[in-house]
């Protein structure tokens, strides 16, 4: 894959950091919006009457939704919006002329964007933790678990990027990919990825399906690792499933990219 051999990666990454810092006001509003929904959901889960098979207690829900904003933002990908915009306003033409693979640009932009979310995510998560710390148990945390947690975040980020990226590349043929993205990506992600309902609390059958789909690995999986509720075998099994999805979607993305470029005739300027 020639995209990993490109030179000047670090410089481009630094440039993306600067571009995103210019819009820090927007970053804040965007952040507020993304923090609010997990808080609402946490309140909702703390006031439910449970179904008999539900293994989570109040402290599990609190820890889960304490981590949701963090994981959600760190694995976030905006490629669907960015790429379809680039096709529409013609900035893709410019990107194609640069001596730099355009798709690698999206990968680096995503790193810069997600890393800068940490500026408010860390203080927020810490403040929230201070509020609820006597209700959350963290004694099970070991270095190996934290290492798995970090790897899971990176794997989740890659999975989200390639799945979103594959949908984004349909912009070559379809003018508006947001609906396609909602149905195949955002919607199922929210339903079965662990946003609305923690995957571990699903009934057996739904949990099994959620485990097969790639969406769980973008959100729920790292949190499940952090909560210490997964055995080492389950963790490895999760990594294997997620990496298989990443490989599959990388190949799909490559195929779509190649055939898309052939049909692409550029509009705008």
């Amino acid at each position: 894959m020639n995209i990993f051999a490109a030179s000047g990666k670090l410089e481009v990454l630094a440039a993306y950091f600067k571009i995103i810092l210019t819009y820090r006001g927007m970053l804040l509003i965007h952040g507020l919006r993304l923090l609010l929904l997990p808080m609402v959901l946490a309140s909702a889960w703390l006031s439910i009457e449970k179904t008999p098979g539900n293994p989570y207690g109040d402290s599990d829900y609190l820890l889960y939704y304490l981590l949701v904003p963090l994981i959600m933002n760190l694995t976030d990908s905006r490629i669907v919006f960015k790429f379809s915009l680039a096709v529409k306003d013609g900035s893709l033409n410019r990107d194609l002329l640069k001596p730099f693979p355009p798709l690698l640009g999206y990968l680096l932009e995503s790193i810069a964007n997600n890393a800068l979310q940490l500026v408010y995510l860390i203080p927020f998560s810490f403040a929230f933790w201070l509020f609820v710390r006597d209700r959350i148990v963290l004694t099970h945390l070991q270095p190996s678990l934290l290492l798995f947690f970090l790897i899971a975040i990176i794997v989740g980020w890659l999975a989200r990027l390639v799945v979103s990226g594959s949908i984004a590349l349909f912009s070559f043929w379809i003018e508006d990919v947001t609906t396609l993205n909602l149905v195949l990506n955002g919607g199922i992600w929210a339903l079965l990825g662990g946003m609305i309902v923690p995957v571990a609390t699903f009934p057996e059958k739904i949990r099994y399906i959620a485990g097969l789909l790639p969406y769980r690995y973008m959100l729920s999986f790292p949190i499940e690792i952090f909560s210490g509720r997964l055995s080492t075998a389950e963790i490895y099994q999760g990594f294997v499933t997620a990496i298989m999805w990443i490989v599959l979607f990388s190949v799909i993305m490559r195929i779509i990219w190649k055939s898309g470029l052939k049909t692409y005739t550029a509009y705008g300027g």
């Binding site: 927007m26 919006r33 609402v40 309140s43 439910i48 919607g187 009934p203």
Partner: protein
């Protein structure tokens, strides 16, 4: 009367404009319908792991969702396009032009445009509520329905107040960028009943941050779980808020020294 006919003519113009891009219009209706369906699925998924939320069972939550979508769709049809246009108006200087016209500026800026794309959600929300009446979850009762009408008016007035706050801010700060996201955050707070929040927040939401009156109160009225006192409290709050925000808007316009050109 003249003001109303001007607004109606402006609406006609925006509808004609939207119809020029018919395929894109149909497409947005489909997209919004999917939004509605996914919102509905969220509740179904939620209730695979929960029996009830703060005393609200799944059928009652569907009523809440119906009411929520009703308010959301109405806001999207009537207010949202105007909010989007507002950011543009300040930057381009079109606001100056509009202010010189012999017509109530607040009225024109608030209701200049209309977007019919959410008609699908509006229809589906009504179908959902109708279905709940048919199933007997909502009991038909004239007194309750009248109260519901009052609470819906308060709810829409409150949403309008947030709209006024945002456009006043746009005039003061001379930019709007992604302020509309703040409005969407407000809606995120209304998707679940007000009873889920801790005591202090719940108190805030029925007093100085009247979030509860947007969806929870109208839905409880429909379900016959709410007394009339809270409905009238909401109405008074909404009326006071509209007066205050109108005053704020007038202050903002007075201090406005034009931007762009």
């Amino acid at each position: 009367m003249r003001q109303i006919s001007i607004i109606l003519n402006l609406w006609k113009a925006t509808v004609i404009q939207a119809m020029e891009y018919r395929a894109s219009f149909v497409f947005s209706i489909i997209a919004n319908f999917f939004d509605f369906v996914f919102g509905l699925l969220q509740y179904l998924v939620f209730f695979t792991a929960a029996k009830s939320i703060a005393g609200w069972e799944s059928d009652q939550m569907l009523v809440l969702y119906g009411v929520f979508m009703l308010v959301f769709a109405l806001h999207f049809i009537l207010l949202y396009p105007n909010l989007v246009a507002m950011g543009d108006m300040v930057n381009s200087g079109n606001l100056d032009l509009l202010l010189t016209k012999p017509i109530n500026s607040q009225l024109v800026i608030s209701f200049r445009r209309i977007s019919l794309e959410e008609l699908g959600s509006l229809g589906t929300a009504m179908l959902l509520l109708g279905w709940q009446i048919y199933r007997g979850i909502i009991v038909f009762d004239v007194g309750n329905f009248a109260l519901f009408a009052v609470s819906m008016i308060s709810s829409l007035l409150l949403v309008y107040c947030v709209f006024l706050l945002l456009i006043s801010l746009a005039v003061i700060m001379e930019r709007l960028d992604n302020m509309s996201q703040l409005l969407w955050s407000l809606f995120a707070l209304c998707r679940y009943p007000n009873d889920i929040y801790p005591d202090r927040i719940r108190y805030a939401f029925i007093s100085f941050l009247p979030v509860a009156f947007i969806a929870t109160v109208p839905a409880s009225v429909l379900l016959g779980r709410s007394d009339s006192a809270i409905v009238w409290q909401g109405f008074v709050l909404a009326a006071a808020a509209v007066l205050f925000c109108t005053w704020l808007w007038q202050r903002a316009i007075k201090a406005y020294t034009s931007a762009g050109g």
